[in-house]
Symmetry: C2
Subunit: 371 residues, 2 copies
Amino acid sequence: SAKFSFSDHSHRRFNPLTGSWVLCSPHRAKRPWLGQVEEAANNQRPEYDPKCYLCPGNKRAAGTQNDNYTSTYVFTNDYAAVHSNQPECSTAALEQVTGSRLPNELFRVESTCGQCKVVCFSPRHDLTLPELSIDQISQVVSTWQDIFCELSADPNIGYIQIFENKGAMMGCSNPHPHGQVWAMSDVPSEPAAEIASFKAFRQKHAASDSHACLLCSYVYAEGANTASESANRVLLQNETFMVVVPFWAVWPFETMILAKSHIPHIGELSQLQIQHLAEAMQALTIRYDNIFQCSFPYSMGLHQSPTANHVDAGCCHLHLHFYPPLLRNSTVRKFLVGFEMMAEPQRDLTAEQAAARLRSIESIHYKHRAH
Amino acid sequence: SAKFSFSDHSHRRFNPLTGSWVLCSPHRAKRPWLGQVEEAANNQRPEYDPKCYLCPGNKRAAGTQNDNYTSTYVFTNDYAAVHSNQPECSTAALEQVTGSRLPNELFRVESTCGQCKVVCFSPRHDLTLPELSIDQISQVVSTWQDIFCELSADPNIGYIQIFENKGAMMGCSNPHPHGQVWAMSDVPSEPAAEIASFKAFRQKHAASDSHACLLCSYVYAEGANTASESANRVLLQNETFMVVVPFWAVWPFETMILAKSHIPHIGELSQLQIQHLAEAMQALTIRYDNIFQCSFPYSMGLHQSPTANHVDAGCCHLHLHFYPPLLRNSTVRKFLVGFEMMAEPQRDLTAEQAAARLRSIESIHYKHRAH
Ligand SMILES: O=P(O)(O)O[C@H]1O[C@H](CO)[C@@H](O)[C@H](O)[C@H]1O
Ligand SMILES: O=P(O)(O)O[C@H]1O[C@H](CO)[C@@H](O)[C@H](O)[C@H]1O
């Protein structure tokens, strides 16, 4: 009789960080595709674009002029999702929108403050992260660290979300290489779910290990798994960081960059560790671009501990998530739609298949190879 | 000093069904858009397409020939995400993928079975739900009911997810009007989260009301809110169903169709109630198409109780979610990307603004209006 195989048969895997499941149907990639085909990101742009509102010296949409910057460049988002100052929420305002003066568990709402910043990665309009040097990427990480330390000192900031949307397919509104920082008074839903998992894990293992950490354990286990080809999800590692396709990956080529030791947040990275992160980011994103020889779209973000003032300060282990949508080639993405939105994320290849594929990819950027 | 206003200032709202928050930044819609512009769905298709694998009498990709159907048509998905029969998962297979023979809380995985069906809504290749008659939509709902009742009797099925992906933008792989049914042995993550909320709500209110139901209470509250323009989220209602922009909506024009009385699942709808659901679906989707005069893309799905055999049978209140991506016009969508994936969904207009806009939309389909 036929044997069960994880690369042929349907199964569900559990994400211990968020407490949710993913449905894995590896045979599904075989179905024909007559759906949406998007434009490939071919990334032929000038070094400077006079109409780009992120290029050095240009005027932005809201009128401010950018400095003639030569490295990274940070400014406050002109269309911030949260502001540091807004009027207090009154009972009358609440009543207007909930329909009642009484607190009602079905109509919970709260005013929220914060800051939104834009971080240009380079003055060059035509480059992206994988095309920058290690020094230049280190400069991006240092800039993140500076912003993190500065905002952490603000008693009104509870959590600092650093992220990048790369490529039009991921809703990026401008191709100039840049990311964003949205800092909020509250811890947003996704890191809040992770923090709850970190705390539950520590609690559960406190008796046998007073330093128990969910991701320290995970890093240890994945490191041990590299010996077995069928369970090896590690793409690369250096002294400080490991790049892995998580066991519970949702997006086709989803990855995580994990601190190998217990580092709660980016503020704690030494200059050398910053360089190690830059190396891991460069090696990963070059492989991404090389899969389909295009500028590989993704959303990426850092998860780390809330700020020093927050009751859950220290309750995390620094890691980065990369969520890239491409599935079949440079123009056909995975859609997380009907079943995924209503029921559960579903993927069409296993984490192990994705990891093997990524490991087999050349480490030199396709644009930089000798022809 | 300035007053707090929900249509100007940032706030977060809580979704009591899933237990997560949404960030609402109503002023953000003012920012310029230089990002991805997609093709508008103009929907000029022939009544019959010889190359379509869903049209009556045609051969499908995997070789089976469709019946010459004249109403709805159901068949098993040729590329099903789950199957009713697959080998049992062995310890050896587990060890291969987790790297260890021991159960490990970080590598939880389980084999999963089920059935996937395709439901063609009409033999006509050129129509969509909002262009079908009430009778034809009632026929779709009746077909869903039949499938639900048939699969509920299968002891290996725990949950039945009925959904539709409409439009290429929502990953629909064929424009022929159709939806899908994925029935699984387990209850998937999203309905599982809702069921946990239904149970917690009932538990909490059991002392004062032995029939307490989260959505019965919500329907009651939103019905009372229609008196106040600034808290009116109801679009339309009939004897059995209410259509509302939920207080905690994420997608720009997200809506829910709610049973007004406590109906646990579609199997319990009478013939008249089926027609009421068809009327609500038609009225809603016509307004959707009329917003930007295009075939309005969305993913929709039914949430209801698990099957009769399941331990949580009866633990839900029938409702439908509609998640449409369009934001600015027929070609510019909302992207739930970086911040939304890493931190928390964010929206650019309030639920009340969306409801007012939808209420103001004409109720006759733009294609059917006299010119
Ligand atoms: O089943 P289809 O139409 O081929 O595929 C579509 O719906 C599925 C269920 O939501 C998704 O998993 C696919 O990514 C999407 O393209
Ligand atoms: O801030 P941007 O680049 O204008 O906008 C992009 O990122 C934001 C944060 O993830 C999203 O809310 C927007 O939908 C997306 O288009």
